[in-house]
Symmetry: C2
């Protein structure tokens, strides 16, 4: 199983709701598995269910959620696994805290104009937020702080999934994590 060996690292997807994080996390996971790596995708919503039940969407609740994803990603990465996190993770300080903890960290800013995210709205959440039914919804009633120096920015309104995935893999290769 020599193909499966290698250094663990974390790919962290951040961006507005409906910007395309989960889609790109999955396409990136698929490509890395094809390259022989063990990959675990930590999806913000799923992790909330298992590790953060009861935490709200206040600043403190969000920070705790993102720190926990970071801790689990850290445990996986230091055991040689590629951990891929897909979570809005709106606050820069906590993302940077995770970067410092983990070390081997590839931050992907999934950039998509708010208008396009609202148009997509696969879960109907923007609609609810705009109607005032979700008091703390990122991009509408809660802030989003874009990364200042992410390893890669993908623009999902103008790139295909294949193009974005290729650019993400390029950034991972540039850091020497895969051949």
């Amino acid at each position: 199983m020599g193909k499966e060996s290698g250094k663990g690292f974390v790919v962290w997807f951040t961006g507005l709701p409906a910007s395309g994080k989960s889609t790109l996390a999955e396409s990136t996971a698929r490509a890395l598995r094809e390259a022989g790596r063990r990959v675990e995708v930590l999806d913000g919503d799923e992790v909330r269910t298992h590790l953060c039940k009861g935490l709200g969407f206040t600043r403190e609740g969000r920070d705790t959620n993102i720190r926990r994803i970071g801790f689990v990603a850290h445990l996986l990465a230091r055991n040689g696994i590629v951990a891929i996190a897909a979570a809005i993770s709106p606050y820069r300080a906590i993302r940077d805290e995770n970067r410092a903890l983990i070390g081997d960290f590839v931050e992907v800013f999934v950039e998509c104009p708010l208008e396009e995210c609202k148009r997509r709205d696969p879960k109907g959440l923007y609609k609810k937020a705009l109607a005032g039914e979700l008091p703390q919804f990122t991009g509408v009633s809660d802030p989003y702080e874009p990364p200042l120096m992410p390893e890669v920015v993908v623009r999902t309104a103008v790139e295909t999934v294949e193009q974005s995935t290729a650019r993400i893999l390029g950034a991972i290769r540039a850091k020497g994590y895969v051949g």
Copy 2:
């Protein structure tokens, strides 16, 4: 790195406070690393800090803590890592829930008479509990439910660490997880 490959599994240490769980978790981890496996030790106290801050020691708080350790152990094991959990985990139902989730599960009952645990009391917690200062302390003011069919029982009042570790490794081998 062929030596590092292999199927992931979980070794779950349960027992009273001061029964010897952490010591045996570490000695087992050392032996498995020497056998070429990747091993992560999830210690109950450490996990509480990172994943369960603010959870109390009520039945519900404890159950959530143990479920979270189980979830993280599950993520590690399904990626080929040996996850070793050392946590009082007093309630049988939640340990069995984790066993069902994880599948590849070796339960180690660290058996030690309460009187001997009280005598050891490395953190002085029994003393506090007996003085009425810790209202929910397992073994004194909170219940402990021993496993009915653990893979192995070690008796730390009468066995050396080496003897107990050898028996734990025997149980792991008997399940075919290491050669």
